[in-house]
Structure formats: structure tokens, C-alpha cells
Amino acid sequence: MIIFDNITKRYGSKVALENATIHIDKGDFVFLVGPSGAGKSTFIKLILKEIEPDEGKLIVAGRDITHLSNREIPQLRRSLGVVFQDFRLLPNKTVFENVAFAMEVLHHKPRVIKRQVPQVLDLMGIGEAADKFPDELSGGEQQRVAIARAIINNPKVLIADEPTGNLDKDTAWEIMQLLNQVNLRGTTVVMVTHAFDIVERMGKREVEIESGQIIRDTKGGIAADV
């Protein structure tokens, strides 16, 4: 699903990611761990095509995305879902609208949108909050809205950059359950986190990055395929 083939990314002279090679298969659930400034966000930004790699080859969903034109980027992003630590909901749109506009981007018919959005909101356990604005919700509820938005178009990959970073332990665990559910439906999940308790409890594949190098790739303590 995602292949990093000797990818190097530099910011000026600063190397953020060096000769990174990794295969992530369809249906995988991968934790990206490592200290601050290690290169985790860089890894994710490369997949999202926010930045271009300096060297190497990058394949996402069977497509070589090493170099994409500005026109091709929207197409790629429609096959990905993204969730952030700070939720990034639109404050002047209701919960329904926040999720609906991800469908509007794909020019779905209003009738289809009206049917599917409540379904996904229910799935995320926030069906009741459809008409509320984000600032009327708790952090956990906002993250549920963000996940609903990320998965509404059935993405092949769900990318999450510290999605539980702003949440308390119990809420974080609830969010993890939802992400696990999404993964069980066949979506590949790549999640950056600092929460070692979560990583341990989930028992999924872990990829550790330090100073731009992938230094560990294990699953439940056993080396994973690289």
C-alpha cells in the first residue's frame, strides 16, 4: 500500500529523513514512534504530498507519487484520510457540514451526502451532535468528527499524526478503539504517537525513527518484514 524506497528529505542542509526504506501492506496498522524532531511528521507529509522527496521513490496505493503536479495532488489526497492532534475542524461549520464537505469535494449529490454523513457520525458515536459547532464539543468528540471526516470517502489509507496527543487517557483509548475499527474494515492505518502505553496495549507494528533514520521495525517485539 505504501512503499518508501530509499527516500531522503532535506530542509536546506538539515536532513529530516535519510535513506528510509519501508513497506506497509494493505490492512496494516503501523505506529510511528520516536523522539521529537526525529522525522515522523516529515514521513507523513511525504505521503500526503505536502513536500517532495529529494531522493528515492515513493509509491502509495499502487501509484508512483514521487513527483506529482499540483493538479494530481487532489486526486491522491482523495484516497487518503488524515487526522491531526489538533482536530482541524472548521469552526464556522457544524459537525454535519464538517464531514459533508469532504463529500462535496468529490461532487457527491446532496441526497447521498444527507444519507451517508449521519451513518458515519453514528458509527463514530456522535450522531446526536450533528448540528453542533466544534467549540460545543469535547476534545474526544471533536476527534471523532475528524475521524468521521477522514473515513467518509472510504480512503485506502488513514494517516493520523498524534491523534490522541490532546486527549486524556480514557478518551485516547476510545479513539484508539475507533481507529482499530476503521482498520478492521480494511483501511491501512499509519499513526504517529508518543504514547507508549497505547502502542504497547495495541500490540501492532512499530516503526521507530530517530534523527531521520528508521532504527526499529517490530511487531509485538518481533522484527517485522522490511
Binding site: 487532489p74 489526497r77 482523495r78 488524515v82 482541524r88 472548521l90 464537505f101 462535496e104 469535494v105 461532487h107
Partner: protein, 297 residues
């Protein structure tokens, strides 16, 4: 241009109401610009109109006859004036005819003239010039003829007025051009604030795979909407002001300048198109200008 026009329209309207502050600021900016522009348009058109009227009157010399002149004597003077170089024709205007002309020109205020016991206007000859350069000489010769009371020919005054009006028109044009530039800058800055306030929104839209046109569409329509609404507001204001102005000084202008002002209808029909076209263009141009920077990759 973009798929999902329905989405763009809906978003534009929703955003206009949700971002009231920005909407009002942009509206105010465009309306104010259009009103000032309208004022200068009003000035230019009227100055132009009055100038043309004056120019029309400028090729005639009024020769007033002494009261004791008979119509036969007047005919003799008329004949000799007709012989002069540069004269196209000479028309005899009786005092009664002169009064009629006066009354038509004064319009609604003509009743004031009814109060006169006798007609104070003299009989006159109206000399139409063929060649304006000969005006001064014709006026001088007329003045020296016997039976002539007075000659009215305001060449220097008219020249002065023409020069002033030319200056006003040129000045107004410069001001109008300047105003258009300023209003685009003001609007683009106002819209830029809107876009900056929505930078986050734009970023998120891009994460879910929105194309640039999908993002631009609603903002562009929003700018055009605001421009259109501003044009309508400005139109309403201008109409109210101009109609009132015409009511208040229209007739006085006739008496003071001996010409009328441009009709309200003519003024409004032209201003309608100017305001709407300019309002929408300023709104659209301002939006595009302010968005460019935020839509790169």
C-alpha cells in the same frame, strides 16, 4: 469553469452571512468607492453637458435694439449685419418671442414672470456666426450701429468657462482612475483578511482533496455577490441623492447657468451599468488577487 456550481453558490451565501464582519467591511469599502465614483461621474457628465450647452450658445451674438426702432428699421440693421464677414444668418426676435423663450427656459418657475406689468425685454437680432474667429469683430461693428442699444457677446467669459470645465473633466478622470485602483486594493485587502481567516479552512479543504477551483469558486462568487450588493446599495443612495439634488437645485441651475442638469433617468441608467459592472469586477478581482498567494500547492 467549475463543477459543483450549486455547492459554490450555497457556500458563498452561507459564508456571507456567517462572516458578517468581513462582509460588512467589504460591502462598505465597495459602496463607498462606488459612491465617490458616482459623485465624480455626476460632476463630469454635468460639466460636459453644460459645456456643450454653452458652446452651442457661444456661436451667437445677441444684438438688442433701442425701443424706438420700428420693425422696418430693424430689417435694415438685420440686412447690413447679414452682409458682414463670418455671419451665417441673422434672426429677428421680437420682445414677445423673447418672453416666450424665457418662460420655456424657466419651466416651473415661469409663473414668476407673469407678475410683470409690461414686457421689459427689448426687440433683438440674433446673429449666428459661421466662423467663431470673426465673433469679436462682428460684435464691435454691431455695437457701433445706430439703433443698437446693447450687444451681448461673452467670448472671453465663455473661453474661461470652457477652460475650467476642461480642467474639471480631466481632473475627474484622474480621480476616477485613481479611485478604481484604490478600491481594488482596498477590496483585495479586505478579502485577503477573509482568506487569511480561512487559511485553515483552505488547508483542510486541500487535505480532503479539494482542487483549487473548488476552493476558489465560493470565494470568487462571494466577492462578486458582495460587489453586486454594494452596487445596488450605491445605486439606491445615488438615486435618492440625485433625485433630491435635482428637486433642490435643478431649476436654480437653469436660471443660474441658463442650462439644465442632466436628467435623473439618463444618469441612473448609465450609473446602473457602471456600478454593477464595476462592483462585480472589483469584488471578483479583489478575491482572485488575494487568493493567489494562498492557493500555491
Amino acid at each position: 469553469m467549475f463543477k459543483g456550481l450549486g455547492y459554490s453558490l450555497k457556500q458563498a451565501i452561507v459564508q456571507i452571512f456567517r462572516n458578517k464582519g468581513m462582509t460588512v467591511a467589504s460591502l462598505f469599502a465597495i459602496t463607498a468607492m462606488l459612491l465617490i465614483l458616482g459623485l465624480f461621474f455626476f460632476l463630469t457628465v454635468n460639466v460636459n453637458f453644460i459645456t456643450e450647452e454653452i458652446k452651442d450658445q457661444f456661436d451667437t451674438i445677441e444684438v438688442f435694439l433701442q425701443d424706438d426702432q420700428t420693425e422696418a428699421q430693424a430689417e435694415v440693421i438685420r440686412n447690413s449685419l447679414s452682409q458682414l464677414q463670418g455671419v451665417a444668418n441673422v434672426e429677428y426676435i421680437s420682445k414677445a418671442q423673447a418672453m416666450e423663450e424665457f418662460k420655456t427656459r424657466w419651466g416651473d418657475n415661469a409663473y414668476l414672470l407673469d407678475g410683470l406689468a409690461s414686457n421689459p425685454l427689448p426687440n433683438s437680432l440674433r446673429v449666428t456666426l459661421e466662423n467663431l474667429e470673426d465673433g469679436e469683430l462682428v460684435a464691435e461693428v454691431s455695437r457701433s450701429m445706430s439703433g443698437v442699444e446693447d450687444v451681448r457677446y461673452y467670448q472671453t467669459e465663455v473661453n474661461k468657462i470652457l477652460r475650467i470645465s476642461e480642467g474639471i473633466q480631466k481632473g475627474a478622470l484622474v480621480v476616477i482612475a485613481f479611485l478604481i485602483i484604490v478600491s481594488v486594493v482596498v477590496v483585495s485587502n479586505t478579502v485577503k483578511l477573509t482568506v487569511m481567516a480561512r487559511q485553515e479552512e483552505i488547508r483542510i479543504m486541500k487535505y480532503v482533496g479539494a482542487t483549487n477551483w473548488f476552493i476558489r469558486g465560493p470565494l470568487l462568487l462571494e466577492g462578486m455577490f458582495i460587489g453586486l450588493i454594494a452596487a445596488l446599495i450605491a445605486l439606491g443612495c445615488t438615486w435618492a441623492i440625485y433625485a433630491r439634488l435635482m428637486a433642490a437645485i435643478g431649476q436654480q441651475a437653469v436660471i443660474l447657468l441658463s442650462t439644465s442638469l442632466v436628467e435623473t433617468n439618463f444618469m441612473m441608467i448609465n450609473l446602473t451599468w457602471i456600478y454593477i459592472a464595476l462592483g462585480i469586477s472589483i469584488g471578483a478581482f479583489g478575491s482572485i488577487l488575494s487568493m493567489r498567494r494562498f492557493l500555491q500547492a
